[in-house]
């Protein structure tokens, strides 16, 4: 039985050793010791094997560990310390069994014990503990340092002292270690970890100072120690010096101090894990990727960042988790749109651009696309939220991410400077003021039953020069769910006769039936990136060079291969440049002015 237990624990631990937090102590009698250790476990494995509840499983495991201590772990402890099992005083102990907390959603359990029971992990943490307390030097003695290597793991060690008037130096040294195998991750988490560790530490120190002051008031140490006369005739009395260290509970006057640490450590582990998600980059980041990263930075710490750009969607699960953990921080999320709704998987939606083209018919689709790429506001109104949302979502792929400002569904009109994609409930009437001053295209989704006479608002839709395609597309033939709707499109804007070059190329890709939708997506990405590069040139040209006249701009456009009909698009796409690029250009160009 014992053997099986051990096998399971070890397979568990090696499987999920991304971060472990532990509290260590330098004992005056026994040197550096691990006191308390919190680590995450993913429970799938034992559950599959035993089919029993995780909690009892771990409790059982803990019990077996405390009854029969792991012999190999014990072997590790002997060489460094002078003696074996008598090397235990109150100061070196924390909890008998431990604490377990389970995060049902994430399927992770956080287990706190005095020592990690997997021998490999134990050896690692122990090594880190010795280094932290007995060899690494921290400038100023208290504070965070970093050390480690690939084999033993990378360590953030925060050293601090706890006042204790029984201690030889009137205080004892402790450290909190965070051990990870991933160095980059650890260093990136540093700005998050250090302040939170400091909070935990200051809490401990405050409690201990109170106890210290009380004890000092009762029995001041200084006269006591100075008064202890050395008597040559009974010097053996002097041996009292090796009195055992006191426990952290006693030093802080807090019986549940380790429970508090368990909660604090697991929160840090969990929040730290949610903080950074890894993205694999296969090439230099595209402008879209940079925009994504900037958006994340901005939402993760709440609203601290100076360059806030309006986030275009509020429904990523990552953000919601953050807001649950720190409810008061993410005020940005407190938006009317944020209300979560259970989406009906059978609700009619538009799947992709080809689908949309089929529904709208080529000519309408073309003019709609034209409106989108030059930055006119797209308003979609209808009763079916998922449908409205899906149309907006689909249209977004025409634009670089930085250009998309979306309000997926709203009960009142929002101006075009707030969003270029707007979903509206059908009750909303566009006021005279809006229809006369804003540049927009309006798509109304209406039920087919009460067919209204087709009435064009103001300007009739213009003629377009795109090639017609046959409407039958095998992909969507079977889908009749949208047959019940009709789509009415109207616009206040007269589109220029010629379609921007990049849009023509996009439409060609859409029309080519030989291309799968993945390929079309790739083509779109490339085209957008290609044109964003031209946008960058234009931006640099206008920002870096001061005033430019019409003629110069024209020449430049020629050079980058853009024509008259692309100008409006380029101007709009400039607004989509990443903050990073803008700042880079602005700082380097102001520099070039000086020199």
């Amino acid at each position: 039985m014992y053997i099986t237990e051990k096998r399971i624990t070890s397979s568990l631990v090696t499987w999920e050793m991304n971060a472990i937090i532990s509290l260590c102590h330098f004992c005056e009698l026994h040197g550096p010791k691990i006191l308390f250790c919190t680590q995450p476990f993913r429970p799938q494995e034992p559950r599959n094997l035993y089919g029993d509840d995780l909690e009892t499983n771990i409790a059982h495991r803990l019990k077996s560990v405390s009854v029969a201590p792991n012999p190999s772990a014990d072997a590790h402890s002997t060489p460094i310390f002078s003696t074996g099992s008598k090397d235990q005083c109150e100061g070196c102990k924390s909890v008998q069994t431990g604490y377990v907390s389970t995060d049902e959603d994430a399927q992770v359990s956080y287990v706190s014990t005095q020592q990690p029971y997997n021998p490999e992990v134990f050896a690692r943490i122990r090594q880190a503990c010795i280094r932290s307390l007995s060899s690494e030097v921290c400038p100023g003695r208290e504070g965070p340092i970093f050390f480690g290597d690939k084999q033993c793991g990378h360590v953030l060690s925060y050293t601090f002292y706890i006042p204790d008037n029984q201690a030889r130096g009137m205080h004892r040294w402790y450290s909190i270690l965070i051990v990870m195998m991933d160095k980059i991750y650890l260093l990136n988490s540093w700005p998050f970890l250090v302040p939170h560790l400091r909070i935990v530490i200051e809490n401990l120190q405050k409690k201990a100072s109170k106890v210290f002051d009380q004890e000092e008031a009762k029995c001041p140490q200084r006269p006591l120690r100075l008064g202890a006369v050395v008597d040559p005739n009974n010097f053996i009395k002097q041996r009292g010096g090796n009195k055992p260290a006191r426990s952290l509970q006693e030093l802080t006057g807090d019986k549940s101090v380790f429970r508090m640490l368990h909660v604090a450590f697991l929160w840090i582990l969990k929040a730290c894990g949610n903080r950074i998600t890894e993205t694999l980059l296969e090439a230099p980041p595209t402008e879209d990727t940079i925009i994504d990263m900037e958006k994340q930075e901005e939402t993760e710490e709440g609203f601290i960042k100076l360059f806030t750009r309006k986030a275009d969607d509020f429904d990523s699960p990552h953000e919601q988790k953050e807001s649950e953990m720190r409810p008061m921080e993410d005020k940005e999320l407190d938006h009317t749109i944020c209300e979560t709704e259970v989406e009906d998987p059978l609700a009619p939606v538009v799947k992709n651009l080809r689908h949309l083209r089929k529904i709208l018919e080529s000519s309408n689709f073309l003019s709609l696309a034209h409106h989108v790429v030059v930055g006119n506001q797209v308003i979609v109104s209808g009763q079916q939220r998922p449908l409205v949302k899906s149309i907006l979502e689909t249209l977004k792929s025409f634009l670089p991410k930085g250009c998309c400002r979306v309000i997926p569904y709203s009960n009142k009109y929002e101006e075009s400077w707030k969003c270029n994609f707007l979903g509206l409930s059908p009750e909303v009437q566009l006021s005279q003021h809006v229809t006369s001053s804003e540049l927009f295209v309006h798509i109304e989704i209406l039920p087919k039953l009460n067919i209204l006479p087709l009435k064009e608002v103001e300007t009739p839709l213009n003629s377009w020069s795109g090639p017609e395609s046959d409407a039958s597309d095998p992909d969507f033939d079977g889908d009749t769910r949208l047959d019940d709707f009709q789509f009415k499109m109207s616009s206040t804007v007269t589109l220029p006769p010629r379609v921007p070059t990049v849009l023509t190329r996009m439409l060609m890709a859409l029309q080519n039936k030989n291309l799968s939708s993945e390929v079309v997506n790739a083509v779109f990405t490339c085209l957008k990136e290609e044109w964003m590069n031209k946008v960058k040139v234009l931006f640099k040209f206008t920002k870096a060079g001061g005033n430019r006249n019409e003629e110069e701009t024209k020449k430049l456009l020629q050079i980058v291969g853009a024509r008259e009909e692309d100008k409006q698009l380029l101007k709009f796409w400039i607004t989509g440049l990443s903050m990073q690029y803008r700042q880079h250009i602005l700082s380097t160009s102001s520099h070039s002015y000086k020199s």
Partner: protein, 407 residues
Amino acid sequence: MSFEDDETPCTYVGSFPKGFGYGPEEAEIEGPVNPGEEKPRILLMGLRRSGKSSIQKVVFHKVSPNETLFLESTNKIVKDDISNSSFVQFQIWDIPGQIDFFDAAFDSEYIFGGCGALIFVIDAQDDYMEALSRLQMAVTRAHKINESIKFEVFIHKVDGLSDDNKIETQRDILQRATDELNDAGMDNIHLSFHLTSIYDHSIFEAFSKVVQKLIPQLAVLENLLDIVISNSKIEKAFLFDVVSKIYIATDSSPVDMQCYELCCDMIDVVIDMSCIYGVRDIFLSRARDDGAFDNESASFIKLNSGTVLFLREVNKHLALVCILREDGCENRGIIQYNFKCFRAAIQEVFVARNKQANKSTGHPQMDLLVNGQNDDELDSDETTQTNGGAMASGHGLLNGSLLQDDD
């Protein structure tokens, strides 16, 4: 009341002038000798709470013995640089008692490889059986790594023992330790034993002996001191490291503990007096913070016992302290004069050592010094000769100088 402990263990300040310790070396004549050469290391080992940190603090940082009651237990190796003079240059490593540095987690080759002496401190007030087995282990392992280590055992905290007890304890420890070594077949290792306490001068005495073993020029220095006392009717002479009050050399007559204590007290008196009344340029003195010990520091003190104490600065960190009979100091001029010669000789020993150690010092000051001397002598051949004389007997130099000098 606060028990703020010193934050950086090596810069403790008591009532002692701040900079009058082993701060960064100023470019004086006895500047760092061999820039590339590792300073010999003295390791302080022993069980936890045996008194290692206390020894280091009391001897080298002027911490009062009572203050050691509030020292925290050492958790890492504390390295303390003692580079005060040309002869006394070493590092003291205070090794925490709880940790086994022979463990694979530590680089024991590094720790013991460059080690000159290993001091093992045994708390005589405690049960010392565990300490003895640790001593045995440390000695055998360190010897394996580095055969040239000198082993010194401090039987410490003997202030708590009665005189009988002291002798008995020393005998017992000596017996057991050597027996164990013999049993292990390591009888080629020599252990020296010292009875010490931070509450009297015994710790300084013991440390002096440890340090002396690490000075290669010890024989020359002792020889020079012998010459001085025999030519000046001096009874006993010590060459002191002023800051630590350890003596780095003495003449060949036996050392009497009381004489040594007397000389230590004399240094205290001179330093205290200079601090209060000897400061000429208060700003300069503050800036250098050297306790006003300078090249004019000198003192004669006559005691009621008919003994006279004489102190004279040799260089920034060294002082010659002598004990003589009252009638011996009738001719102070000769003593003063012989002292000058002694001082010059010491500096020559230093230069010689330098030349020997590395031909090109790579140190501008050093080269200047060497050249300067050559200029004085005009004839460089003669210099070498005189140097050789000093090295060989010392006598020739002193006598020769007596004749040559016009002062």
